[in-house]
Assembly symmetry: C2
Homo-oligomer: 345 residues x 2
């Protein structure tokens, strides 16, 4: 019935990896837009690692999703009612509608989608993940021709953007990905010079040995988005004056120990700190939502490259909101191939 | 006899804190300057924490002192022979002569001292330590009016420069120092808004509580030069978009565990990394010797302020090269008050 919508709510706060029972599929009335608001029927919904953080009750850079609340997330779809002169029914827009088939948002929180590109691109390659890769690489990584870049989760929407922009600027690019298929994808589709399957290495030391061969001149930029074993492998290979943009670390989201494997062990902080000092490294964290003033610049540069095919992208599209939890759990385990999206309509 | 000099050599590599028997006072022939070289009789010799690192055989940003070699260090004195047209006997110069009463260096490695300021200033407030503070604060810290800065070892030549430059730029400045005397010095001589005696707090948590009161608006810049407990106290108080210049950490020099207390304990790296991410922190290491292209700019800005008394400095001067090891061991334990210097002539 048209006045009802489906949504996924947070049923329980997960301990470690989320499971089915942490989510609940619900039917709710479609909300009505107030003055200045717009109602959108969501066609495609985005799933992203940061959402795992919102499921916890911990203090972070954003408020947690309340128990019983709709899971947070972005989506793109068609305006079906508008109380704002800037939008009319039929317009296509992106907004933070949550894991839901419909959503109301203030018009000023929506972004109209450009013509001529699939609307799914607003969730991945030209959305928050692509923008994250572009911003972190260019603003913090400051890539220079002839340098070497390493990025993990290299076939995801952040890593693949990082790799392609770096390659276009004349860097040697080394991908780290999970599994032979993703490694092949990294080199064949995304143009990485080399790709390493982190699952093929038991520990940081063996991964480091392979990395040292793939990056014979050392590593100038490590785009940090996974943490854990990869970071430990990379650190000793960093060149002097290297840069480490830190944009969120999927490896730690399920353990509560961002940036590292859980459990007892040596304190790795002194080694890191010493390396930072003696190699003049720069490490800088960033949350992309603080930098949307640069989004237009990103679109101007990258949208034409996506349209022309010079920047490739890959999407993994699940069908139906009821499958969103499973797709999300798969994403956290790296089972997706490319940007994880859920098709709703 | 004029053809002999005294020097201190490295007799043994220390385990932990250096002791008397790690050093040896020797008499050697005064070296002869070759073509392009200059012989200097050193009047004042500098003692600095970085020298502890040179006593170890570990890979670092500089070569270790060889066993039996003269301890490394800078000094200022009078040219007594020159085979270079740029220097003549009687000129006053700074160079890396080591812990020695005389030294030969290529003319291009020497810096002529400006007139009108005590030559000891070339070792501290206008030398490497002052330059380190100025560079790290301005280039990495990027201070903005109204922000809050914290620096430890605040009465030392690095920390006191950092505090005074920050204060002049309109920041609230909080000193951390060891002992009530140094805290008084920090506020009365160096103009810090507040000073905390880290010895008065048993652990990072209690120090943090005091810091939170001294820095009620949070901390925007933490100039890191000690590591350990202070860093742990500071980290949770950092404001979003905070900056952490990392210039070397005296707390760790004796333990081999730079940046932290030694021994077993929880792995603090994940907490640090998560904080870096969610608060958009920037941490950047630097070794000042890579930035001497900026030294002239530093002198132009700061030397007039030292001459006018707008920037205060404090020197702790030991007498005689035979007392250099004791003064150095005291420096590593924080027993000096101000820049540690040894008067040789």
């Amino acid at each position: 019935m048209a006045d009802e919508m489906k949504c996924i709510t947070l049923a329980a706060r997960p301990e470690g990896a989320p499971k089915d029972s942490d989510f609940k599929l619900e039917t709710r009335p479609v909300p009505e837009p107030s003055e200045g608001e717009v109602l959108v029927r969501v066609h495609y919904m985005s799933l992203d690692p940061y959402m795992r953080g919102r499921m916890d009750d911990a203090k972070s850079y954003a408020e947690p999703v309340p128990l019983g609340g709709i899971m947070e997330g972005g989506g793109a779809g068609e305006v079906i009612a508008s109380n704002d002169p800037g939008f009319k029914p039929g317009d296509m827009a992106f907004g933070m509608f949550g894991w839901a088939t419909h959503g109301v948002q203030p018009a000023k929180m929506l972004r109209k989608l450009p013509e001529g590109l699939p609307i799914t691109t607003s969730l991945g390659v030209l959305g928050m993940p692509g923008f994250t890769g572009w911003y972190g690489l260019t603003e913090i990584g400051k890539p220079k021709k002839g340098e070497t870049l390493v990025v993990a989760a290299a076939t995801g929407p952040v890593g693949s953007m990082v790799g392609q922009i770096a390659k276009a600027r004349g860097l040697r690019t080394v991908a780290i990905a999970g599994g032979a298929d993703k490694c092949r994808l990294a080199t064949e589709k995304f143009g990485f010079d080399a790709a390493l399957d982190h699952r093929a290495y038991d520990d940081a030391r063996s991964l480091r040995k392979a990395l040292a061969e793939a990056a014979p001149d050392g590593i100038d930029i490590y785009f940090e988005n996974v943490g854990g074993k990869v970071f430990e492998a990379v650190l000793p290979l960093m060149n002097r004056f290297g840069r480490i943009p830190v944009c969120g670390m999927i490896a730690g989201y399920n353990t509560g120990a961002l940036g590292g494997t859980a459990g007892a062990g040596p304190d790795r902080f002194p080694v890191f700190w010493r390396t930072l000092l003696v190699k003049h490294l720069l490490a800088q964290g960033f949350i992309i939502s603080n930098h949307f003033d640069r989004y237009g610049e990103f679109l101007n540069e990258v949208a034409p490259l996506v349209a022309s095919g010079d920047i490739a992208y890959l999407e993994d599209i699940a069908e139906g909101i009821e499958n969103a939890p499973a797709a999300f759990m798969g994403l956290l385990e790296g089972r997706n191939m490319g940007k994880q999206i859920v098709k709703l309509a």
